[in-house]
Amino acid sequence: MNAAHTSFYMLAGYVATSIAAATGSFWVALAAAPVLVAAVGLALERAVLGRLYTAGHTAQLLLTVGLAYVIAEATKMLWGDSALSVAPPPSLAGHFSLLGATLPVYHLFVIAAAVALLGAVAAVLRFTRLGMVIRAAAANPDMTAALGYNVRHIYSAVFVIGLYLAAFAGVVMAPMAGVYPSMADDQLVQAFIVVVAGGLGSLPGAFIVAMLLGLVQGFGNIYAADEAVYFPFFVLGAVLLFRPLGLFGAKAA
């Protein structure tokens, strides 16, 4: 349970603005910022968060909400509270036409990056030894430990991989949506809906609900702009009404 996850998404956006400004390269920012943010996350996990793995969800939630506030205030102290932006790389700066609409080429890059990362995560979980151990530890941590695996290290690895992915998304989204102090909160609500409605621990469930949410918001912005902000919550409510554990949720063993 990590309510500060999207704070690292935001932090990566800010770090990327500084790296891009210093080097003049979006690609350097994309390569370096997620690694730096994941390293910060690993240090925090080692120092604080890791101590609460066995303390229950309430303690984890309280600590990570506090951490989210600390990160939010720290970014304001370092970068100010104005919105910042990162220019897309020149090679992705153009536009293209699709069904009469003119769209930025950069949007194609964002879609491709999301699909590639999703495929990579799914492949690691399904086809590698690391993925197998992660699935085992998620299903039964005590048994995994009793087979000789240090579950604490597995949790750390999963945490850092998750932070890297959030940070990568923060950098990729920076040229498209900008970087601003409340971006973590905006994404936290969306992430909560996607994870809960998809079913805790289900990658396919998260994917389907994320796509559904995107479509609902997209059409909502066109046909009912004033009410569109509520639509994601209708999606969450509708799913939980018929599937209380989410689309692909399963009861804990």
Binding site: R129, M132, V133, R135, A136, A139, N140, D142, M143, T144, A145, A146, L147, G148, Y149, N150, V151, A253
Partner: protein, 231 residues
């Protein structure tokens, strides 16, 4: 040599183990025998590091095990088969077996050796753990515990809920494993099962070891059987 001396453990404010002692050598099958609540499962969990000991000593081959985390206990040569079997439901039989060796992907020779003890698993190699029968799950759980070549295996209530023919197959695999030099400690609540498979029996009652000896010696101890075993 596996040894437990004066072990004490419990959950929260509740003390379950008051004074448990046990010694087992390579090639032995030891039965921890007792009614439900006698402390058999708690003893196994404490040896495995899933529950912290509050006193006493646990050692394997002279090296201390007591107080180590579970992964460290496993890495010192202890295999564990819990009462609920804990087969990973979304992993296939092959993946469950691979999980059994923490050192890395096991050699095909090792997998073949384990399947030699449990041939029924050969046809189920690609089947997910969740859809196996109870007997197949038990065989898989024991096979998985053997993948890292442990010196000691703790098996909690292996016959529970299984058909007699499956129990017989499991017992035969225990004989073969013990003959190969493995030390096996089995938690069991049925005297008849313990008589059949154990080289020595340790009777537990109220968190204590109240008897240690052979099945024949236990036969002569009416007081122990009446107070701690008979329903």
């Amino acid at each position: 040599m596996f040894e437990i001396e004066n072990l004490q453990a419990g959950y929260g404010a509740t003390r379950i183990l008051e004074d448990v002692s046990l010694a087992a050598a390579a090639g032995e099958i030891i039965c921890l025998l007792g009614r439900n609540g006698a402390g058999k499962t708690t003893t196994m969990k404490t040896v495995m590091g899933l529950l912290p000991p509050r006193g006493g000593r646990i050692s394997l081959g002279g090296a201390r095990l007591g107080g180590l985390p579970p992964h460290a206990v496993a890495r010192r040569g202890v295999g564990y088969v819990p009462e609920e079997r804990a087969v990973f439901p979304s992993l296939t039989v092959a993946e469950n077996l691979v999980m059994g060796d923490w050192r890395g992907r096991p050699a095909p020779r090792k997998t073949d050796e384990i399947l030699g003890y449990f041939p029924r698993l050969r046809d189920k190699f690609g089947t997910r753990g969740a859809v196996l029968s109870g007997g197949e799950q038990q065989m898989l759980a024991i096979g998985r515990a053997l993948m890292a070549s442990p010196r000691l295996v703790l098996v909690d209530e292996p016959a529970e809920g299984l058909a007699p023919v499956v129990v017989q197959a499991l017992e035969e695999s225990f004989y073969r494993l013990a003959a190969a030099g493995l030390c096996i400690v089995i938690a069991e609540s049925k005297l008849a099962v313990a008589r059949r498979i154990a080289t020595r029996i340790h009777v537990m009652g109220k968190g204590r070891t109240v008897f240690a000896g052979t099945a024949a010696e236990l036969q002569d101890r009416h007081d122990i059987r009446r107070e701690f075993l008979e329903v």
